[in-house]
Symmetry: C2
Subunit: 329 residues, 2 copies
Amino acid sequence: MAGASGGALAAEVYLGGGFGFLAAGYDSPDNVVKEIDIARSHLTGSCTTDRLPIGVGFLGWQLEKSTSRANELLSIVLDNHVQAIWLAFGQELGQHIQFIRDYENNLGRDTKVAIFIQTSFLDDAIVAAREWKVDVIVVQGVEAGGHGPGKALPLMTLLPEVLGALGSDSPVVLAAGGLATGAQIAAMLALGASGAVLGTRFLLTPESTYTDAQKEALALADSRSTTRTMAFDYARNTLGWPAGIDGRGLRNRTVEDFEKGESMDNIRPKFLEGVQKGDRERMLVWAGTGVGLMNNVQPAKIVVQELYKDCANHLRVVAAMLKPVADNT
Amino acid sequence: MAGASGGALAAEVYLGGGFGFLAAGYDSPDNVVKEIDIARSHLTGSCTTDRLPIGVGFLGWQLEKSTSRANELLSIVLDNHVQAIWLAFGQELGQHIQFIRDYENNLGRDTKVAIFIQTSFLDDAIVAAREWKVDVIVVQGVEAGGHGPGKALPLMTLLPEVLGALGSDSPVVLAAGGLATGAQIAAMLALGASGAVLGTRFLLTPESTYTDAQKEALALADSRSTTRTMAFDYARNTLGWPAGIDGRGLRNRTVEDFEKGESMDNIRPKFLEGVQKGDRERMLVWAGTGVGLMNNVQPAKIVVQELYKDCANHLRVVAAMLKPVADNT
């Protein structure tokens, strides 16, 4: 969640009992160091090892702009001994993975960083599992907020497809896309995922770096408020995504003007002014379809704890269904 | 499932441990009587009451072509004492429900038919629950095969939204759309649904009235083979659906020609010939996104039994997760 998830959010998620990622999407090496330091300061006294119990997420296509910069960024996070690296949206993810594995070998560490690959396609999941031998595959459905392939399948279809193809010697598979509640996490576990990834829900926390205006827009939105679009990438000039990738965010006049074919020369100044003023009708707010299921800002720690309780309650309900099942089979 | 689900399929689903519906979509009163008789013959000796343990599904917009015909069709199924009536895609569903309730009152029966309303929108679900006081609401996501609103939300978003709004005094809520496996049913139960509805999976049974060519096409299809379209309704002249409704089926050249803007005068003869010859590139095969998760024709009874076992296995896995949860909360 570039621009939304820094070291504070990643650390607080861990302190709540989850595992959080710092998004290094467009960040400079200096910024990444700064955010890692923030994470470390939140975690002082809470970790029993040198390893920093957060992950760092990268956009493949940003890394691929320059190999030396990619290597610098990856080295920084490896030197800081984070527990996981998340890679998405790249043409050369296999090369980054190779760099990571080689770098670690040179460091001579016992424990390896867990490599997460995010994908919305079965073929990519198979490559990640069999060729790259990654640790975790994050399967992201079309419901997801932020960037992803506009033609991704719904999660309820995509996840069983991937699980079925990978079989029992698969890496850990996590479900992502539109998930916002413990009930949905329980559903993903029942479907066969080993866990779930929530993005939008953590934008509605004091620790996320979204603005108050963006958080208010999220709290007010319902499940039908989101759309997939390239309007914001044009408006803020973050083009360069691989083919077929767009982003899901709250629909507003920036999107409508873009769809009507208005020129960026007209759209961009209004967008930038809207961002400045916190104008919901113009600014960018990434959001998944689960946005209708959340309406208040809560500390990330509390969010994780509530998700856990909600999930456990739903698991208890289905566990209770097993009694008559046992009598019948 | 008009044209696919007759009395034999509905009855065999019941005999497997499920509850099946006979689809009376475009049927004449004579046909409905015939299919009910087929169901009854399958069920002779298996029922302990006079009530026929199947349901009958109607298309609202077909009933609404003529009130007298609607009343005739509804009377037939009520006289035959079916256990459930399913209504979908109508502007006047409330009136049909009123007719059903009045007719039953006149019959003076103790047990009432269960009324199922299928919807993809929260507002409609609220009307069905609070005004019409229906027994069951079938919440259908955009993944569903056959007809539905093209702008429906994915099931993983829609279902929590409906469950959250209806609260605890809600009618029974069932999940529908793209579901094909016991794992998916377990997921829907974990999410909070009281059960799940599967369509496409039951097309791949000897009892469905789909042709062998259609069944073969289903067995060969994957999750990315489906599309939402009006091509087939134009080609076979089944227009008259409420605004915003289209159908999800296997993508083929009939769809492609329609999207290219070719005239129906060109498309229709090729379509009709394709239907005749069982040509996959031309004929109509409705299918939900779960079609990639099935590949063989099995008796409906066996399908239900396998779904049940698969679902129970997935529930057992999540139930086993509760031990550490219990230690932690």
